[in-house]
């Protein structure tokens, strides 16, 4: 029942992960699944770049190109970047606030399996008649006209995985509000926890509009309604609004946690308290708030009229202010610190100029009149990859190195890590810097080929060469992971030696109950405070007692599997008679599993005080 570290067979380990409700194991699941989708999205990016390496190329056909492009964007955003961030949030946030798990461990597992099955469903489209091909934005004027089932896979798959994401977000919110250790006030929370909090709030408010939009699309395409059918009085612009009311907050859902990760890294490796902590919190909240007022900057050329365009342009530019506050705070954190250039710190330092580059082009794009020139050109592609890769992917790579020891108990090799970093950094700027100019010279976004001798040849070739640098960097990272796992050299509580927050006060990886006794938090950077007073670890806030833990459950897997099956039914309902049956069977599996969950009492189990005492060598002291 409990997961006391006995040696287990392969089958037992798999079963353990299929049924786990432990936030640390769910984090690993997110990391594995998100990592696989990241490789998939990366392969798709390589295919795009190979096709565009030379003019008039025929590596892929036009139709296939559209599918690859759409799946690249959709996979990267929904199935790679967000789940990977969820992985780190799950692994670290509960430790940072001194909690033994998230508020709803069962729902946490459910969230993961929904995301996973949604992602698998979406990708099965490759084998079942073709992937979606209307871009990751899937504008209704395109998606309603798209033949085959590609768009149906998009709508149903994102609906399922989106439900999982929403659950995850709510779970994080409740955890942070209710489960902080004694003394951990809001204004003592580490910034990664703060950014998890704000990003989760954004998820809470941004995903429902997407859900609504996707349902309208599903109804229109599969059940004969006319929300987007102009000939029948519908309006395709409704989709654009619903999508971007979700879509803009989505970019902050991605980048705020990355900001949080970098804040931790800057403070740790400058060996200084984060400069301007309260203004950092304020800026994070303000960015989250403003993030909801700016969505129409993606629609300047839709024809909203000058007044709406002006309002959204000004609101967008306003976001540059809190973002600037953050940049300066990071710089001042490094100022006068005794800096250690570890791999995570290298990513953090490189992130600043890269992200500022994306921010500057962002303000350029926000000027509505100028955007008529930039819109739908490679300038936009360059802009959003500067923020997404330079911000989010750098953050994810930094976090992989930084938190790897905490999650797995081993250190990734620093030399290989630095090689990955330099290759990735060079490749990134090679690929995307030149795309600004390709865009300004008139190369449109989402085209599958271009003509020779229009000034686009050299730029595109350089861009493709850069993409290969990034691919090699990723390969080296994977090799690094394999080598580290095979060597399996275990490390102690605080392998970076400069840990400031609670997660570094407990073993790596932590015991399944995290804290034997909840720690007493006496200020910001609680572990650092204790270290400065010459203590080895945290002071416990409670006497040693029994710990209540939840039981594992296979139910989340079944609930998600049911929806996965039902989605096939909805999709093939009109083509085959068995469609309706499959729809009903799938919903049946889900509802039955939910019913079982509701009526079967599961009180969990207790770890007894005596067992905890014997567990001393594992050192799970508060």
């Amino acid at each position: 029942m409990s997961t006391y570290a006995q040696k287990k067979g392969f089958g037992a380990t798999v079963w353990d992960y299929l049924t786990t409700v432990d936030h640390k194991k769910i984090a690993i699941l997110y990391l594995i699944a998100g990592g696989l989708f990241f490789v998939l999205g990366g392969l798709e990016a390589m295919f795009i770049r190979i096709q565009l390496a030379v003019p008039n190329n025929d590596f892929v056909s036009a139709g296939l190109y559209n599918e690859i492009l759409t799946m690249h964007g959709t996979t990267m955003i929904f199935l790679a970047a967000m789940p990977l961030l969820f992985g780190f949030m799950n692994a670290i946030m509960p430790l940072q606030i001194g909690a033994r798990d998230v508020a709803f461990p069962f729902v946490n597992a459910l969230g993961f399996w929904l995301f996973f099955f949604g992602g698998i469903f979406l990708n099965l489209s490759w084998f079942l008649g073709g992937a979606p091909d209307a871009g990751w934005t899937s504008y209704a004027s395109l998606s309603m006209a798209s033949e085959g089932h590609g768009i149906d896979f998009y709508a149903l798959g994102l609906q399922i995985s989106g439900a999982g994401t929403l659950m995850g977000g709510i779970n994080f919110l409740v955890t942070i509000i209710n489960m902080r250790a004694p003394g951990m006030t809001y204004m003592r929370m580490p910034l990664f926890t703060w950014s998890t909090f704000v990003a989760s709030a954004l998820i809470l408010f941004a995903f429902p509009p997407l859900t609504v939009g996707l349902f309208l699309l599903i109804f229109d395409r599969m059940f004969g309604s006319n929300f987007f059918d102009v000939a029948n009085g519908g309006n395709t612009v409704i989709w654009e609004h619903l999508f971007w009311i979700f879509g803009h907050p989505e970019v902050y859902i991605l980048v705020l946690p990355a900001f949080g990760i970098f804040s931790e890294i800057f403070a740790t490796f400058s060996r200084k308290r984060l400069f301007g902590y309260s203004s950092m919190v304020f800026a994070t909240v303000l960015i989250g708030f403003l993030g909801f007022m700016v969505w129409a900057h993606h629609m300047f050329t839709t024809g909203l009229g000058p007044i709406a365009n002006a309002i959204f342009a000004v609101a967008t530019m306003a976001i540059a202010v809190p973002t600037g506050i953050k940049i300066f705070n990071w710089l001042f954190t490094m100022w006068g610190g005794s800096i250690k250039f570890t791999t995570p710190m290298l990513y953090a330092v490189a992130f600043i100029p890269s992200f500022v580059g994306g921010g500057v082009t962002g303000v350029m794009l926000a000027s509505a009149a100028a955007d008529y020139q930039y819109h739908d050109s490679y300038f936009v592609v360059a802009h959003f990859h500067y923020v997404i890769v330079g911000g989010v992917v750098f953050g994810l790579l930094a976090a992989t190195h930084f938190y790897w020891p905490k999650m797995f108990g081993t250190m990734l090799n620093e030399t290989l890590g630095k090689i990955t970093f330099w290759l990735f950094l060079i490749g990134f700027h090679l690929t995307f810097f030149i795309q600004h100019f390709l865009g300004l010279m008139g190369m449109p976004r989402r085209i599958f080929t271009f003509l020779p001798n229009q000034g686009l040849d050299a730029g595109n070739l350089i861009s493709t060469i850069g993409a290969f640098f990034m691919a090699i960097a990723t390969l080296i990272l994977l090799i690094n992971i394999v080598i580290t796992s095979v060597k399996n050299q275990k490390v102690g509580n605080d392998p970076w030696e400069d840990g400031r927050t609670l997660e570094w006060a407990i073993p790596s990886p932590p015991p399944f109950y995290n804290f034997k006794q909840l720690p007493l938090v006496r200020g910001l950077d609680p572990l650092w405070i204790e270290k400065m007073e010459g203590k080895k670890g945290m002071t416990p806030a409670e006497p040693l007692g029994d710990i209540h833990m939840p039981n594992n459950s296979f139910n989340p897997f079944m609930i998600s599997l049911g929806l996965f099956v039902a989605a096939f039914g909805a999709l093939y309902r009109e083509d085959y008679n068995w469609g309706v049956l499959v729809l009903i069977v799938g919903m049946g599996i889900t509802l039955l599993s939910m019913f079982v969950r509701s009526v079967k009492d599961d009180h969990g189990f207790h770890i007894h005080k005596e067992d905890l005492l014997n567990d001393d060598d594992k050192g799970g002291k508060a």
């Binding site: 709030a201 408010f205 009311i245 007022m293 129409a296 909203l304 709406a308």
Partner: protein, 111 residues
């Protein structure tokens, strides 16, 4: 609850005070419950029996709806009590986001 159970390990919980507080809560609940039924009736009458113009009826029943929501949140879901700050914050933020969406749809899609 009227029983002697306090759900608290603290032996000095003032049961008398608790009882009085609960009775008071109960009274508020009953008052607001009858108010809600009354407001619902008013809404039905305004639409069904009165001879009012739509320009009056629509804003009027919307107003009644808002009052009902307030009753629901503050008297039935105890949002006025301590410890409900976070739910209140999220409810109002959600309301704000929703209203902005509606405003945008009414002004720039269906102008």
């Amino acid at each position: 609850m009227a029983s002697e159970q306090t759900h608290s390990g603290n032996p000095r919980v003032d049961i008398e005070y608790r009882k009085k507080k609960s009775a008071e809560e109960m009274r508020y609940q009953i008052v607001s419950f009858s108010m809600m039924i009354f407001l619902t009736l008013v809404a039905f009458i305004a639409v069904g029996y009165g001879d009012f113009s739509a320009w009056f009826i629509v804003p009027f029943i919307l107003l009644l709806a808002v009052v009902q929501v307030v009753f629901q949140l503050y008297y039935f879901m105890h949002m006025s009590h301590k410890g409900h700050e976070a739910p209140a914050l999220f409810l109002y933020s959600g309301l704000l986001v929703g209203l902005i969406t509606i405003l945008a749809f009414m002004t720039i899609i269906w102008w």
